[in-house]
């Protein structure tokens, strides 16, 4: 009872503070100087139609590299932590098989979802979307497959290869920027091309494809590790 009252008091306090801040908030009438710089120059300097992509991949590409490494660390920690099997050998898993309807639907939809993910990360510089979103969509296809066939084992070797190759390629592309363009992760290694085409904006499509593959592999790895543990638990 006392605990509930304390929680309510805390909520009230946080709510009052935030309400005060939000009440005084007035929306900007024009872009802040940083945003105005991006709005004015990003399309000419980077050549990407999606300015969020231009910021994420080029202007703040180093942050994105760090973000990808955080995701990698998460996947690594999870597989390390969930790896240890119990001493006694687990009896054969008696997971309930998925229904016929679900398995058939999975066979139809998995390729479509994979293609959708690839489409999203290839067009990251033109349309809403990008490597992280596309990678998440790809991982959702693997999740569907694991739910339809609970005994399925995702090949850790393939996943690890895809992940490390795309991670290394991402860094190599960034280093190429030092050699052939203005600096680390500069996208003008290739020509900017004509605005709004698939092969434009320098190396952004390649970088975002590698990010997409890497994120997809990492998320699939997390899903696969968790499903393995669940199989052991049964």
């Amino acid at each position: 009872m006392v605990k509930n009252i304390l929680i309510l008091l805390l909520l009230l306090g946080v709510g009052l503070i935030a309400f005060d801040i939000f009440g005084a908030f007035t929306e900007n009438k024009e872009l802040s100087p940083t945003a105005a710089y991006y709005a004015e120059n990003a399309a000419h300097e980077v050549g990407a139609a999606n300015l969020v992509t231009a910021i994420v991949v080029t202007y703040r590409g180093l942050d994105t590299l760090g973000e990808v490494s955080i995701l990698f660390l998460t996947a690594a920690i999870i597989s390390f932590m969930l790896k240890f099997r119990k001493e006694e050998e687990m009896e054969a898993s008696d997971l309930r098989p998925a229904s016929e309807l679900f398995i058939t639907a999975t066979q139809v939809f998995t390729p479509i979802i994979l293609i959708m993910g690839i489409y999203i990360f290839l067009n990251g510089h033109l349309t809403p979307g990008g490597g992280f979103q596309g990678g998440a969509v790809i991982a959702s296809a693997f999740l569907l497959m694991l739910m339809a066939k609970p005994r399925l084992q995702l090949s850790h070797r393939v996943i690890a290869r895809v992940e490390s190759i795309s991670g290394i390629s991402y860094v190599i592309l960034g280093v190429l920027g030092i050699a052939f363009a203005g600096g680390f992760l500069d996208n003008r290694v290739l020509s900017l091309g004509s605005f709004g085409e698939l092969m434009s904006a320098g190396i952004i499509p390649f970088i975002y494809s590698f990010i997409g593959l890497k994120v997809g592999a990492e998320l699939s790895n997390i899903i696969g590790t968790m499903s393995n543990l669940q199989k052991e638990n049964k």
Partner: protein
């Protein structure tokens, strides 16, 4: 107008705080954390809102020295990062929950008192 979105974000945040303070089930606590996270993301995106502006995706190359009419892209890029980090945190929390459940066969937080004195 943007105040409405801010209040929605704030309400999601408060709901999340209430959820992880109050509930006993570990999975519900994880869900409450993601609600909290989503509320903060909504607030961050709405801070970059400009009245009558479009999404920061151009359909043609703007002229030199022309500033297109669009919302602030910087908070959106930040939130993209925040979503990914939130996903990593959620995955870690879920794997801790799996591990805890493996140890004690229970999801009730009251059963985990090993560090309590």
């Amino acid at each position: 107008m943007v105040q409405v979105i801010l209040i929605i974000g704030l309400m999601l945040m408060l709901l999340g705080i209430y959820g992880f303070m109050q509930s006993k089930n570990l999975l519900k606590i994880v869900i409450a954390f993601t609600l909290f996270n989503t509320g903060i993301n909504i607030i961050m995106v709405s801070v970059g809102y400009l009245a009558d502006a479009k999404a920061p995706i151009l359909d043609k190359l703007p002229d030199l020295n022309e500033i297109p009419n669009m919302v602030d892209p910087v908070p959106q890029a930040m939130v993209l990062t925040a979503i990914v980090i939130g996903l990593g945190v959620t995955a870690l929390m879920l794997s801790y929950v799996l591990k805890l459940h493996q140890e004690k066969r229970s999801l009730d937080i009251n059963n985990f008192k090993d560090l309590k004195w």
